[in-house]
Amino acid sequence: MKARWHLPRPLIESLVTIFIGLTAGALLMGAFGYSPLRAYQALFIGAFGTPADVLETIAFATPLMLTALTFSVGIRAGLFNIGAEGQMYLGAIGTTFVAGMVSLPPGIHIAAATASGMLFGAAWAMIPALLKVWRGVHEVISTIMANWIAFHLSTYLAINFLGDPTRADRTVPALPTARYPVLTEDATLTAVIFVAIAFCAAIYLYLWGTRAGYELRLGGENPDAARYAGVNANRVILLSFVIGGLAAGLAGASQIIGRPPAWSLYATLGNVATLGFDGIGVALVGRNHPLGGILAAFLFGALAHGGRLMEYQAGVLSELVRALNGIIVVTLAVPEVWAMLRRRRIR
């Protein structure tokens, strides 16, 4: 192997999968009579065309790095926690309540609203966690069911308890004291991005720098060896769901008190919906690493933000971006792709 191949392998693999995803997307667009070239051009310009667009891309990345963290911490503990979606809904509800209905001094208000969202998210994550510990219910089923229950519960709460009397379509807006400062007038990026990055970094330090983190990763890596090492499997399950719930809750909070112009939750949950599922692809591209997730989130943030211009200019529905996400996830699931690439390289 020559020296130029010495980029870290995970990075190469992630880039190749994204390339495969984009190619598949181009084929899909071509099949339905759209111009892939125009679409991707618009996508790219939309995401990076101006400094304001770059900032907007980062704003889109903020919740994604957190919902990706939910999935990553689950995978690190050997669990398939796809409940970020519902945990995030409840996080948004918890934040809306404290931010919109409670008056607190500036500074404390932001912290309280954020913490409330995170706690709501963690509390919702306890449902699948406890079902797993007590009854051995597989988390794929329990988290999805919890997501749908959370959807209906959150819609109900948003309309009946948190509704804005002046606008039927959304909840009361966060009070100005609970809003994260907007960083620039040109984009919806707020200081909540720093909280998100700090949280990811803190979880990274926790997983690799503490005994509990070591035991969590050991439980996911080799459950038998974990037992041999005296690790309590139930503790690992609970811990990973709590961390995941906190992250998803923070993602929900970030969209309420860290994202102008609405500063509130839509009654349809439209401004948070699907961010939890999108996190799965982000986590996998980020190699289920909290810091890799941050990088991958910027990439998916670019797809999400650029997708809007793509829809406007090339007529391709921006939701196609989610289909690309799915193809990327499937590609990452197949180890033989990498085996093939390696064989090719050696030849």
Binding site: W208, G209, T210, R211, A212, G213, Y214, E215, R217, L218, E221, N222, D224, A225, R227, Y228, A229, G230
Partner: protein
């Protein structure tokens, strides 16, 4: 059996054993299907001796060891380790009371393949104050210097301390595992198939280490399907057959043929079961 004739013998001085470090009485253990796999076994391992359990695999040895290591519940019977009577043994109890466990399947129980060498060097020791603070922070400086020490002392060949254990050879994986367990300063070492699948150099080295532990006054419980290994380094031998000890005795008193027959379930006539010294067979 790879190189039965070639593996150099490990020399073993005769030496009087001390007090028992492990006492097992009427132990019954079930297998995964719920059937009794260990049917009332009693024995002792004393300080300064190697007690070998021979037998064809699948006669309850795995279940016996897993029960002793806290990895499998006990149906009935008593275990006393280093003077402490234990009802519900957990792995942490074993280590706390001075037990070390070289498990039967190093890839399943003993190591985490995608963890790096340093991380594997504290597997099962992660709670010791030397490696993590009371607040639960890992002391990476201590872990790395300990891992480096293990690598040097036990001749583990590895590119670096951050190499995933997956990419080490089987022999080096086992050296790391054995080194980690023996460096716990144990009073009792439970070693299961400690040299299975290893190259000759590693095999001899690990056998020497076990004899050295014995000579330092530690008790060693050796379970192996390799009869040569059991004969070579054990002081006393029991043969396990269908969940019970079918026969036992001092190594000098048992011939290879006798043991071979017993492994097949054939009890030699005329042998007095009292040769079991202080440990009666099942009742």
């Amino acid at each position: 059996m790879v190189g039965r004739e070639i593996v150099p013998r490990v020399s073993r001085s005769s030496r009087p054993p001390g007090d028992p470090v492990l006492i097992v009485r009427n132990l019954q253990v079930a297998n995964d299907q719920g059937a009794l796999a260990v049917k009332g076994i009693s024995f002792e391992v004393r300080a300064g001796e190697i007690f070998g359990i021979a037998g064809v695999e699948g006669n309850g040895q795995s279940e016996l060891v897993q029960a002793l290591a806290g990895l499998r519940p006990i149906r009935s019977g008593e275990i006393s380790l280093n003077g402490a009577e234990i009802k519900h043994l957990t792995p942490l109890d074993l280590y706390r009371l001075g037990g070390a466990h070289i498990p039967e399947d190093r890839l399943r129980f003993g190591l985490a393949l995608n963890f790096d060498l340093a991380e594997n060097s504290i597997l099962s020791r992660q709670r010791e104050p030397a490696f993590s603070t009371r607040m639960g922070r890992l002391n990476w400086n201590a872990i790395l210097s300990y891992a480096r020490q293990l690598v040097e002392r036990f001749n583990v060949l590895a590119p670096g301390l951050h190499t995933p254990v997956r990419s080490l050879s089987g022999g080096n994986q086992q050296r790391l595992l054995v080194g980690r367990e023996l460096s716990k300063e144990p009073v009792l070492v439970i070693a299961v198939h400690p040299t299975r699948g290893l190259d000759i150099a590693s095999t001899v080295y690990i056998r020497e280490l076990l004899v050295q532990m014995r000579d330092e006054g530690k008790g060693v419980l050796l379970v192996s399907a390799d009869l040569d290994e059991v004969l070579e380094i054990s002081d006393r031998i029991a043969v396990m057959y269908e969940g019970q000890f079918i026969g036992s005795g001092k190594v000098e008193e048992l011939s290879r043929e006798e043991i071979g027959l017993m492994m097949g379930g054939i009890t030699p006539k005329g042998r007095d079961e009292s040769a079991l010294a202080s440990s009666p067979t099942s009742d």
